[in-house]
Amino acid sequence: MTDVSLPLADGGAVRRDLIRRATGRRIWRRRRFSHVATALCVVAMCLSLTPLVSLLGYIVARGLPAISFGFLVHTPTPIGVPGNGIGNAIVGTVIIVGLAMVMAVPVGVAAALFVVEHPGRLSGTLRFAADVLTGTPSIAIGVFAYAVIALNFGFSALAGSFALAVLMLPIMLRANEEAMFGVPAELWEAGLALGSRRSRVVRSVVLRSALPGMVTGNLLAMARAVGETAPLIFTIFGSQFYALRPTAPMAALPLTIYSDATQPFPAAQQTAWGAALVLVVLVVVVSAAARVVSARLNRKAR
């Protein structure tokens, strides 16, 4: 085997036979190993799916019995008193999230326009900051909203909306910006070449064709905000009544779940399961709406 380095001579023949025999020999073992590894991956998948199935199963099984028309419209009663409901929490969630959208959406769109139109270090920093802030613990945002609003103006739905808006803003900025960059350069060019005023180009051309992406991104941000508890826990205080004034304390679904789940009474827990089911349905509806809207607008744009 001294002349393996002379590849074209037959000196490599020994090595060649060695390798050819070795490659053939282990095939069945390797295939068996591949199958075992695949089986282990299937086990991993089942492990990942088990909590999901159990979670959804329990939410439906425990939540459905709790739900009735009265449950959805009534206000909470003391433990043991019939006629308990989460109507005010549902309305509260809708109001708080709605107000948060009113605050966050315009800022998100305007900031995204800035990032798209002013390329450079400043925008890069802004984008990076948004990416990092997307992972900010929501509890920190809750404490911030408490310090800025609740501490100065008292607990209110507005403080909760502000916290949710801060939470959504980075997500919205990135989603809007990505949707705008998806607009073909020719469309900007065509608009500008026609001598349109810049703001009109943006409004008529860019926003229109970026709209599906923006709507989807904003709705997904909303879906996340709907289920958040931590930003609300120190800001809205909760309420036992239909409170519609945004400057007053208000109830919300996540808060209802949190306070009822930690109580040792089965009735409270049942309320928590019912509220959880409603909350999951809300989240799913908003997420689904995001996809449906984007699909429909996409079709219309074509």
């Binding site: 085997m1 001294t2 393996v4 380095s5 002379l6 590849p7 074209l8 490599g12 090595r15 060649r16 060695l18 390798i19 050819r20 070795a22 490659t23 053939g24 282990r26 095939i27 069945w28 073992r29 390797r30 295939r31």
Partner: protein
């Protein structure tokens, strides 16, 4: 087993001198042409074909790519599969090492690799592939591996762990691929740092390291410039003395330069590829029997 140090450094250096390129390629072509009749001339003592296809068809879903190919690829030498794009040359090539298993292509008919029935139910695809190397259109070294790991990857897949054997094989394969002198001092560098032509030769070395009987090459020069193409062609010519090469090309000149045998594929009336004629390269180019071959060949040459 020798160590790397003991090996003579001479090897095949002439092949990699950069000044060789253009003016020397025709010479290597002449050599191949001169040797071609020798190989096919030994018809009386024809060895068993290295690869034999009997009525092979390849279909992707409802679309039939190529139909009814019956072809014997003689042992050693270069067999070129030529024809216009979309006529099924590559499909036939990939049928030999069962690569259609991966992409959902359906192969019918019989493929024999020496005595081995490639598509028999008891034949593992891995066994076929350990005896058949393949080089793809675009150089595709594993981007996460360094040069050395790329070359020995096939051996490692086959379960060979011996360090000295891996080192010897790597050197021998790189020498055969005329790459040893370029990379001997940078074996630990990422493979993607090599130039396109070097990457392709690395892929050839990787395929050769497992000591295959047959080397399938799917338009190996289509992503390369003329100089790199020249080097690869030279390499093909030298390798052909001890390994069977099946080369897909849609470049008639390349087929003429490097191959001993040529199989011409054309699109049939129903847009399905078929084998029109096969024979020695000299016959196909100078005296084709099928009028369609004549039209195709003269259309390109004359």
């Amino acid at each position: 087993m020798t160590t790397t140090d003991e090996m003579p450094a001479s090897g095949v250096t002439t092949a990699t001198l950069p000044c060789r390129a253009l003016e020397e390629v025709p010479r290597s072509r002449d050599v191949r042409r001169a040797s071609a009749p020798l190989v096919s001339g030994g018809a009386a003592a024809t060895p068993a074909p290295a690869v034999a296809l009997h009525g092979v068809s390849v279909a992707f879903g409802a679309h039939v790519a190529v139909r009814g190919v019956t072809l014997s690829v003689p042992g050693q030498g270069v067999t070129a599969l030529v024809g216009p794009s979309g006529c099924g040359k590559t499909s036939v090539l990939r049928a030999v090492n069962r690569l259609h298993d991966e992409t959902g292509g359906r192969v019918t008919g019989r493929v024999l690799l020496g005595e081995l029935d490639v598509y028999a139910s008891g034949t593992p695809a891995e066994l076929v592939r350990s005896r058949v190397g393949m080089v793809f259109q675009r150089p595709n070294p594993f981007p996460a591996m360094n040069i050395f790991d790329n070359v020995v990857s096939g051996l490692r897949f086959c379960g060979i762990r011996s360090k000295s054997l891996l080192a010897d094989s790597a050197e021998a394969a790189l020498r055969q691929a005329a790459l040893w002198d370029v990379v001997r001092d940078r074996l630990r560098e990422p493979a993607v740092r090599l130039s396109g032509g070097q990457q392709q030769r690395l892929c050839i070395a990787r395929a050769l390291a497992v000591e295959p009987e047959v080397l399938l090459m799917d338009e190996p020069c289509s992503a390369l410039d003329p100089i790199a193409t020249g080097k690869i062609e030279e390499l093909i010519a030298r390798l052909a003395s001890h390994i069977t090469i099946v080369l897909v090309t849609h470049n008639m000149f390349q087929a003429a330069r490097v191959s001993d045998h040529t199989a011409v594929f054309l699109l049939g009336e129903d847009r399905v590829g078929e084998l029109v004629e096969a024979g020695t390269t000299a016959e196909i180019f100078s005296n084709p029997k099928d009028p369609r071959t004549r039209a195709y060949v003269t259309g390109h040459v004359g």
